[in-house]
Amino acid sequence: MHLFLVTADYTFRALFHWLSPVPYVINRLLFPLVQLVFFALVGQYGGSQSLSFYLVGNAIGVATLSTFGVAQAVADERWQGTLSYLLASPAPRVPVFFGRAAYHVVDGMLNMAAAFALAVLVFGLRLPLEGLSGMVLSMLVATVALCGVGLLLGSLAYIFLDAILLANWAMFILLLLTGMNIPLSELPGFAAAIGEALPLTRSIAAARLYAAGAPLDAGLGLLAGDLAIGAAYAVVGYFVFGWLETRARIQGRLEGV
């Protein structure tokens, strides 16, 4: 547990490049908010869905930023020259690997809370009290599931040099295919099928139910589905990480690609 907490703390602060708070505020709070405003206004102009459809979708979608932090935290070990120390250490890999995502879950929740505050204060989004606990649960599941994607991308970053590029791909795929801005029913069949296999799709659907005042149990099935998908991504990431580590040791190219 100690190793898990130490890894969580150091990877969040040092490997995520925010030893001072200003870059943190810009990267994690302001950028998602301007993105939310843009897509909400495009959606409002399009008029095919209600404004709340876009506000809730994009406020939950702010969690996509978690994939950047987690992926970067894993990949930057190589850039900062600490990868060999990490892999040579006898520390068990499970807390080292999953600890990287721990703070990002809390951070993702904070970012989404800021996004919802903006949606309520600026755009007048109404969140009924009876749906509030479900909404918080949707936020938690969304960010946990996306940290799973981040862990997988971070592992892949051992063979792909640019983790941020991978995370950018992931962000735009999530923006397009999870129903954040376009209902899945409007997408072509193959695209909707991909969307169903992505985390976030069900969290967004559940959040929209709760924003409409649905009781807590109405969205639990959806959230369980997203949690399972996110866990699957994280576990695959863990095994990819282990496989690449073994391969690098055998081939003697720990810092190579």
């Binding site: 200003v22 843009f38 206004l41 495009v42 409002q44 102009y45 399009g46 397009l176 801005n181």
Partner: protein, 260 residues
């Protein structure tokens, strides 16, 4: 003057070669406009007055601006990390001209997003993409590049003043999309933001491109928009020129060019 143009051309060529092999900027020029174009096409196509050309033009402008913003804001930090910033600043050629060439090279590269946006509308969605006033549109596109160039030049000196400028300027991506009305009318924004939009050359560029693509303005109306675009672009260029000078002098006096 000819010497300055030669310096700008060389800087533009070098920058073009650099951005053309950058994975991140290729993403900005090709992948990001693809996603923005496809998403906005889906989001706007239910409007009764939907015109796919509007989305094509808006998505192209967003691609141009994103590449310009990221390549432009990182150009100075890139020189700094290579250790060549001092050499460029100390050279007898004007730094403003060198940087202006770099921004022009970036813009030339980012024109690929215009073709990509056309392909999304015409081939992926199968819409007929026709421009109502091709001559006006071509002139508007050239002036749009001037508008974006001058806006990029305004942000550039901050890269000398502020090491982490890229993080701050990255934030300007979506606000410029919104304030300039690339993909929705600025009347959807709060009233207090309208004067900011009117001061931005990209707003006038978007207005000219949208209007000429849809044939909404006659030549006189279009010329008025072009005139305001050029006026705001010249104002931004003069401001950025002074800003370049002031920031470089400050860095030289403090001996902090590579450190700020």
């Amino acid at each position: 003057m000819i010497g300055a143009l030669r310096v700008a051309r060389v800087a533009a060529e070098l920058q073009f070669k650099e951005v053309a092999v950058s994975g991140f900027l290729l993403f900005g020029a090709l992948v990001q406009p693809f996603f923005i174009g496809v998403m906005t096409m889906f989001m706007l196509r239910h409007r009764p007055d939907f015109d796919p050309v509007y989305v094509v033009v808006g998505a192209a402008l967003s691609g141009l601006w994103s590449v310009l913003l990221f390549a432009g804001s990182s150009a100075i930090s890139h020189e700094r990390s290579l250790g060549t910033l001092e050499l460029v600043v100390a050279a007898p050629a004007s730094f403003f001209v060198v940087y202006g060439g770099k921004i022009a090279g970036t813009l030339a590269f980012s024109l690929v997003s215009v073709l990509l946006s056309y392909a999304i509308g015409a081939w992926l969605f199968g819409y007929p993409i026709t421009v109502a006033d091709p001559v006006g549109f071509a002139a508007s596109l050239v002036l749009a590049l001037v508008a974006l160039w001058s806006t990029g030049m305004l942000f550039a000196p901050l890269g000398i003043l502020w090491r982490t400028v890229g993080r701050f300027l990255g934030l300007m991506e979506y606000p410029i999309y919104s304030l300039s009305g690339f993909l929705f009318p600025i009347l959807l924004l709060p009233g207090w933001t309208l004067p900011v939009s009117y001061l931005l050359p990209p707003y006038w560029a978007a207005l000219a491109l949208h209007a000429s693509a849809r044939g909404e303005l006659d030549l006189v109306g279009l010329a008025e928009v072009w005139a305001v675009l050029l006026f705001t672009a010249v104002v931004l260029m003069l401001v950025s020129s002074r800003l370049f000078r002031a920031v470089l002098q400050r860095a030289r006096r403090a001996g902090s060019l590579a450190l700020t």
